[in-house]
Symmetry: C2
Amino acid sequence: MKRRTTTTLDDVARAAGVSPATVSRCINQPASVREEKRERILNAIERLGYVPNGSARALASRKTRMIGAIMPSLDNMLFGGPLEAFQKEVGSAGYTVAVACSEYDPQQERIHVRNFLESRVDGLLLVGAQRDPDIYRQLERQGVPYVLTWISSDARKDHCVGFDNAAAAEQLVDYLVSLGHRHFGMISGFIEHNDRAKARYLGVRTALERHGLSLPPDQLLHRPFEPDAGRDAFHLLMSAANPPTAVLCGSEPHAYGALFEARDMNIDVPGEVSVTGFDDMWLASQISPPLTTVRTPRGRMGRQAAQHLLAQLRGERLVAPRPIETTLVVRKSTAAPRPRPLLQRVAPDHFQARTRAKSGS
Amino acid sequence: MKRRTTTTLDDVARAAGVSPATVSRCINQPASVREEKRERILNAIERLGYVPNGSARALASRKTRMIGAIMPSLDNMLFGGPLEAFQKEVGSAGYTVAVACSEYDPQQERIHVRNFLESRVDGLLLVGAQRDPDIYRQLERQGVPYVLTWISSDARKDHCVGFDNAAAAEQLVDYLVSLGHRHFGMISGFIEHNDRAKARYLGVRTALERHGLSLPPDQLLHRPFEPDAGRDAFHLLMSAANPPTAVLCGSEPHAYGALFEARDMNIDVPGEVSVTGFDDMWLASQISPPLTTVRTPRGRMGRQAAQHLLAQLRGERLVAPRPIETTLVVRKSTAAPRPRPLLQRVAPDHFQARTRAKSGS
DNA sequence: TGCCTTTCTGAAAGCGCTTTCAAAACGCCT
DNA sequence: AGGCGTTTTGAAAGCGCTTTCAGAAAGGCA
């Protein structure tokens, strides 16, 4: 007697005295099978502990009920929230979310896309719009719906659920300029493979130019999105002969790092220098001084991305979602710059004071 | 002419002039097919843009190459790191990770387990060991390997990759007692469905009893794992007539909240009250005062969980992993308690000072 | 060259489910 | 009882791949 290892739909059919087709219907469209049989079937399912085989089901129906999500990172608190919101939303429509992590690396992202394509996910969630066109070609070829988040780009507008990073950055600059700032530093992410970071940087430049200002190359530092990296960059910026009066951070972890470093360097924020963040994560309002930043409604974005994808899955026609509103949140990390001495180039005491202070840590 | 929507393995076989079986081999064990044909096949695959169908493959081979992970939350920075480490590790062995989120709710977890069982995941990652035995029965019945993280329980030791939460909590208490503390408060998570939180609480109780001390019921507050909740609880604890000299937090977000609230209430930490955390996330060393806490090596746990699961997947016999070491990290949020007035019950000035201070926020 | 061993290859039988399609059962009238 | 339009049901044909199994090709040696 060969012992079967798993119970299949056929087993259930036999046990309930109906055909496999009927069992299948009973599971997928219960209304279409008569009460009496339905009960017998359900009963048999229960009794045998039957669990449908998703692979077989997917093969036959050409639907996996699975959505792939590729995030740059899970480690910082930035992507978890929206992802969770996304998952909850598509989950209630019966979809499972598979998550992969690209570590901000196009190569890795490519691999993960490929994997998801093999897995025949019903849809795909990506972050940002900038990637090898070949990837989009494949997605379209395979007819896999996708949504691009964190951005409201022009190129593939129809797929973008996100906000206008550049505009938000401009808003921040406008505000600082209105306070009287003229000398800026920026701690940015790496912009080569990151269109969100690039947009923020370009927004800063645009706004600056509009005001007849500029960001000297040595005042722009690129760092990974980590507080320690932000610290480091801030230290560099503020140890220079002629430090900026305002430091724009391309991401919030950068700003936290800057604020911590300022504390350790005995630099008063916002007295000596203003610092801004970007995203308004929970720490922004708690840190001291509370951080002036841009609020990006990420939970809403996650939900909206889900809805956008679900609409495609339902076969509805793509309509470009409208960009999600961001809001400038003014807190205590920004203020008017303190008046400068006329001979700006001198100030060696600043320099020494600041590097000295570092030893305390 | 009926246009085929996807190219299949058979198409490739035809294009390369070999049998489907050979193509299959070429993909799965390239070494077993002769150079010349292999090249023809690879070439055809490339030319046709063939992407294997995972469902079909899974159905035929009875392997999905997918691992399910059910985490209590993705929103806080706690689970993301280890999950990413886990993913990277199993990813390099060719597995994809599907993530679901239970929100600390057994019902939701149950549903997700069920879904993963239907998806026929090859393995499962869970957090904690406490759940309906029925779930374990199902897993065993279906022969799905699993690993339980964040805990080193006795019940299913063989599956646990984690640390001894109770012992770590005891260590914290011992340290505080050695500083001279006798009056404790605790901000804990909800312990009913959370064995990690429960173990920490029990550890605290055990250690306290060992020193002939106890935790009065009104000094134990249960809160969700959020800074704001921690704030709230800390405020309550410290507004009482006879506040504790040390507040133990069951999780780090609680501790951050406590520290922020202390700042806003003008309570000096560690002068007036000591505060401890649990987990040593990145903020712990940056916040002021830097937090005394227990370091739980979560990245290592993620990797080890992956290895443990992969070993099972390879068919190796289960050996109980040894618990992961935690270490007490003493920073500046703890100190000896300040001497108390003899009449402990009185101190109405304390009370007023503290509630008054709140108005500043 | 012939024979035996080793390596490759192809035919065919599933894997467990969904989904036509047509037949059966039912309900309702006349 | 017979007829007709609706449900309900079952048989059978896949979905696209893996995996025996046995036969073909290649290699080694006398």
